[in-house]
């Protein structure tokens, strides 16, 4: 028996969320007295895969099939299912990403496994039960879920667990061939279009996020947000109205009907703090609110606040960050 960890790579690098997943999987393996093996997907680089030893991974399986570079749901599912059989994995851990969740749900049917997505903590394994804590009700609550199947699949929420770094440790990288056929690639994308990320930081993976709402008045003022983003190395987000009127792209919209994020720091600028907005951000570790209205509901959910005009406060913050660095 072992724990199988699915590691997503892009441009040769292991994604940050996958480092968290690798570390999570290694800790689950330790809990159960076994080892954690990883299977790499995406555009991987062997040297970087070997470094997964730092997160506690013993062995990394890598299928060099070039068509696996882009996400193909069927092919990825078959690849991981084959690896799970070979490794006799009882537990599969993946990121709660668009790839991880899509593959995880197919795998759960194929492998007859219990699946939990959006998981935020290590499992509890006492009393003969396997229980995980997961986010529910759009960030407004958590549920403790018992996974009763013999096999279990866990999709770990991004930035909710820390990736351990045991410097210098390496994992053994071994070739792996899932014997994929053309039919497995029938649902391959015909085209992949990547966006320009402001400052190069992807919102779903970001540790620091600066977000703007209607208080920013218009897209022409967004440079104030972006300047602070650049100084901090943060990603940009917005409330729903900005994406509804196309001031900002919809993938930046956070909240109940946008994306849910849990960065270490969320700075909300000119956002009132409607319950649907809070649902997407209230699991952020530290929340800063800048609003000229001292009665804005967001202050109730904040750790730090400034009652003031964003047009005055934002440049001061950017200058202070630059002074610090």
């Amino acid at each position: 028996m072992s724990v199988l960890v699915v590691v997503e790579c892009a441009d040769g690098e292991v994604k940050k969320s996958s480092l968290e997943v690798a570390s999570y999987g290694a800790q689950v393996a330790a809990q159960l007295g076994t080892t954690a093996t990883a299977i790499a997907v995406g555009e991987a680089n062997e040297a970087n895969l070997a470094k997964l030893g730092e997160q506690g991974i013993t062995k990394v399986l890598f299928d060099a099939e070039p068509r696996l570079k882009d996400f193909v749901n069927n092919a990825y599912t078959k690849l991981i299912a084959t690896a799970a059989e070979q490794e006799q994995a009882k537990i599969i851990v993946l990121a709660n990403s668009n790839i991880g969740a899509a593959v995880g749900s197919r795998l759960s049917v194929r492998l007859k496994a219990s699946l939990a997505t959006n998981v935020v903590e290590l499992p509890k394994t006492d009393g003969g039960q396997f229980t995980v804590k997961r986010g529910a009700f759009s960030g407004k609550a958590f549920s403790e879920v018992v996974l009763s199947g013999d096999r279990k699949i866990i999709a770990v929420k991004k930035n909710s667990t820390e990736a351990k770094h045991d410097a210098g440790k390496t994992a053994e990288v071994t070739g792996f061939a899932a014997q994929l056929s053309d039919a497995d690639f029938a649902d391959a994308p015909t085209q992949v279009v990547m966006q320009d990320q402001a400052g190069g930081v992807l919102l779903p993976e970001a540790e620091l996020v600066v977000s703007g709402g209607r208080g920013m008045k218009g897209p022409e003022n967004w440079h104030l947000i972006e300047d602070l983003d650049k100084a901090l190395g943060a990603a940009t987000a917005c409330s729903k109205p900005e994406s509804d009127v196309d001031w900002r792209p919809h993938h930046e919209h956070v909240g109940q009907t946008g994306i849910t994020i849990s960065p270490n720091l969320y700075i909300a600028c000119g956002i009132s703090g409607a319950i649907q907005h809070l649902a997407g951000v209230n699991s952020s570790k530290v929340i800063v609110v800048i609003n000229k209205d001292p009665e804005a509901p967001f202050f109730k959910a904040a750790d730090y606040g400034i009652v003031g005009d964003v047009f005055d406060v934002l440049p001061k913050l950017t200058a202070a960050v630059k002074a610090l660095n």
Binding site: G104, S108, A141, S148, D303, L317
Partner: protein
């Protein structure tokens, strides 16, 4: 083209979440239930595609008990032709997926549309499971869906970009913005919805594979620390030295 749109019945987005005293169940008292917001994209897009083709049917499906019928009727008022309710409490994603797969097989639907995720369970699971159970592709989450004959072209959101995916029917897709502008019922729709067929069928399949042992609310915040706007730079020092996040 036969469309099957799966709708879930969820607490309105403004709901303050609370649980029963033993924390075992969601407290429904005084809660307004709505069609899962993402599922409205699926429903509207199915109706638009049917209208554009000039033929076809849109069936809505819900796995739920009788209290979900007002929202099923609402979906009929928005423009679905008929509805099916699998009469069972939705135990977990696997159980729900089994019901949907059984209905989809029985009715030989061409296109099965769902929302990106349910805003109560937040599984992002049911669409993938249904695709696997039926042995057909799932495209999730889709931001755009166009059909030409039996071929669909979709834009699938990935972290940091999108993919263009082409699939033939039958397939499953989960929908999100900016796919369409969700419709609201008009007077005529509300009148006709009353007489549209709503079939109730029993549940099938194996039991659920997961159970909720307990719910919990997030810990309460300590209270906000205010920094004077004149001294905004002070905040940055606190974030580094006190909160240690930058």
């Amino acid at each position: 083209m036969k469309f099957l749109v799966c709708i879930s019945n969820v607490p309105d987005t403004t709901t303050k979440i609370a649980f029963t005293p033993d924390n075992k169940e969601f407290n429904k008292a005084g809660v307004q239930f709505v069609i899962n917001p993402w599922d409205e994209y699926a429903l509207t897009r199915a109706i638009e595609l049917k209208e554009a083709a000039g033929s076809g049917t849109v069936t809505v499906l819900n796995v739920g008990e009788a209290d979900t019928e007002p929202n099923i009727r609402k979906a009929l008022a928005i423009g679905a032709d008929d509805a099916i309710r699998v009469n069972a409490a939705p135990q977990d994603a696997y159980f729900v997926a089994e019901q949907i797969a059984a209905v989809a097989k029985e009715g030989a639907y061409d296109v099965i549309l769902m929302g990106k995720e349910s805003i109560d369970y937040n599984g992002f699971q049911v669409h993938g499971m249904v695709g696997e159970m039926l042995g057909i592709p799932t495209v999730a989450p889709a931001m755009k869906l166009d059909m030409s004959g039996n071929t669909a072209t979709l834009e699938r959101e990935i972290e940091g970009g999108k993919e263009i995916v082409t699939v033939n029917t039958p397939f499953v897709a989960s929908c999100q913005q900016p796919m369409c502008e969700p419709r609201i019922p008009n007077m005529r729709g509300i009148m006709t919805a009353r007489t549209k067929p709503l079939k109730v069928v029993p549940a099938v399949g194996e039991p659920a594979r997961t159970t909720v042992a307990e719910y919990a609310l997030p810990p309460k915040k300590q209270g906000v620390k205010l920094i004077d706007a004149e001294n905004a730079g002070e905040l940055i020092k606190l974030l580094r030295n006190e909160a240690k996040v930058i």
